[in-house]
């Protein structure tokens, strides 16, 4: 189960989908917007997603987790739009009979979500500058693209 949400994840009862009397362990990961990144002071950020491919790729990641680890259920939600410091950007939840596979699967999902989902993050800094994260390292000679 994966969803993109343009409204705060904090307002969604993400846990409620996990009631299962067999479950003994439940692990969650939340990614929060930090006030800094790579030495720069962050003011806010924006996420943009390629929705259709995002949903397909996320379903694939969750299916992989459910296949590789002895878990009951995995789910993920990701924000789009403008986020302020402290806001939840991404959420992963995994239930299992035992805690070991729950931890492993939760980490698998977030690790893969971060590198595989077509979602982009633009950071706005306190100095007025802004940057698409990860593009700066790729473009020739660094930060030129933001100009």
């Amino acid at each position: 189960m994966f969803e993109l949400s343009a409204t705060p994840l904090e307002a969604i009862d993400l846990k409620s989908r996990f009631a299962d009397v067999r479950a003994g362990g439940y692990v969650t990961f939340e990614g929060w917007v930090r006030n800094h990144n790579e030495g720069r002071e962050v003011l806010r950020l924006e996420y943009e997603a390629y929705e259709q491919l995002c949903l397909e790729e996320a379903s694939r990641i969750i299916a992989e987790a459910e296949e590789r680890f002895d878990i009951i259920q995995a789910a993920c939600a990701h924000r789009t739009g403008t986020l302020e410091i402290g806001d939840m950007a991404v959420w992963v939840g995994v239930s299992a009979e035992h805690r070991g596979p729950a931890f492993d699967a939760c980490r698998y999902v977030i690790d893969n979500v971060k590198v595989r989902l077509p979602i982009w993050k633009k950071e706005y800094y306190t100095d007025g500058d802004s940057d698409w994260v990860n593009c700066e390292q790729c473009a020739v000679h660094g930060h030129a693209h933001g100009a």
Partner: protein, 82 residues
Amino acid sequence: MQKKTFNIHYFAILREQRGCSVETLESAAVTAADLYAELQAAHGFELGTESLKVAINDAFCDWGTPLQTGDAIVFIPPVAGG
């Protein structure tokens, strides 16, 4: 050379550099790589294909995939979810 019609969607830094989210254009490009080269020359995109992925009709594809008329094409800059 026969031209085909493509729908191109832009996201993130490419959207900003192109100045629009979606465009329909005719091109003689045979592969996704050809098409990107054409667009890069026209719009001065800084990212090279080594930094991008490409999706055709909402599925990741190789750069060498032959394009069909009507294809929806997305060039995918380095992602940063989470």
